[in-house]
């Protein structure tokens, strides 16, 4: 049998199976919770990084100012 014929035979005769509707709802709700938590965690991590970066820039500027004023 040719490859295409075999694939066609398999696709047309092997039914796709699915989970029960109640299970679908359960999984979807649990996944939404996980997705929200994950997105929130990522945003929080990004904000913490931004805050740390801002602090580092401010500290560097302060060091520069002090060096300019009292460095000589």
């Amino acid at each position: 049998m040719r490859d295409d014929d075999l694939d066609q035979l398999l696709r047309s005769n092997l039914a796709a199976h699915d989970v029960p509707a109640t299970r679908v709802v359960e999984v979807r709700e649990a996944a939404h919770r996980e997705l929200r938590a994950s997105a929130r965690g990522l945003r929080r991590g990004w904000r913490a990084f931004e805050a740390t970066a801002s602090l580092a820039v401010a500290a560097a500027q302060l060091v520069w100012v002090i060096t300019v004023l009292f460095g000589r």
Partner: protein, 187 residues
């Protein structure tokens, strides 16, 4: 699914959009479940593993690469979970040793549920394939992945995937021929 639409779904998922998850879930749920069911031969195990696949997508969604191909990603996770389950099951079976009698192998629920003789025969023939051949045949011939995409899922080189697929097709063709008596295996 069109690559542009898939990219857009991934982009929305990366932003934490629950409706993007729902669209991917509706599109891929039966495919992931069917793949796992045919790999495990058990609906309850496939259900548990499939649930974990979707929770992992939800957890990882915001950190996915923008060019992630969803089908390949989901089948990779499903296969890894199946392998972990299989290893754990093998260890627990080995620990049980001679204490447990070996039960006769019943027809899988998918054989039993098959509507026609042809589909029952195909389910049996696929079930009888060695695992490595079964998985690549399911991914390429049934789920429509290209050998290149299947190679990513199975962690093989493209050439190895093509060779394995060719052998799997020969084996299933031969199995069908044995059953039907027709050369070439036409049912």
């Amino acid at each position: 699914m069109d690559v542009a639409i898939e990219r857009e779904l991934v982009s929305r998922l990366r932003g934490g959009d629950a409706s993007a998850f729902d669209e991917i879930y509706a599109w891929m749920r039966p495919r992931v479940f069917s793949f796992l069911a045919r790999m495990t031969g058990r609906r309850d195990v496939a259900d548990d593993l499939a649930q974990e696949v979707w929770l992992r997508l939800a957890r990882t969604g915001p950190r996915l690469a923008p060019d992630t191909r969803m089908a390949a990603w989901l089948f990779t996770v499903a296969r890894n979970l199946y392998i972990s389950h299989w290893r754990a099951h093998r260890v627990s079976a080995a620990l049980a040793g001679d204490l447990l009698p070996v039960p006769p192998t019943p027809p899988s629920p998918f054989e039993a549920a098959s509507q026609t003789q042809t589909s029952a025969r195909l389910e049996r023939a696929i079930n009888a394939l060695p695992e490595a051949y079964r998985e690549i045949l399911l991914l390429c011939a049934v789920e429509g992945l290209t050998p290149k995409e299947a190679a990513v899922v199975l962690d093989l080189s493209g050439e190895a995937a093509r060779q394995r697929l060719a052998r799997a097709r020969t084996m299933i063709d031969r199995a069908l021929a044995d059953v039907t008596g027709y050369p070439g295996g036409a049912p």
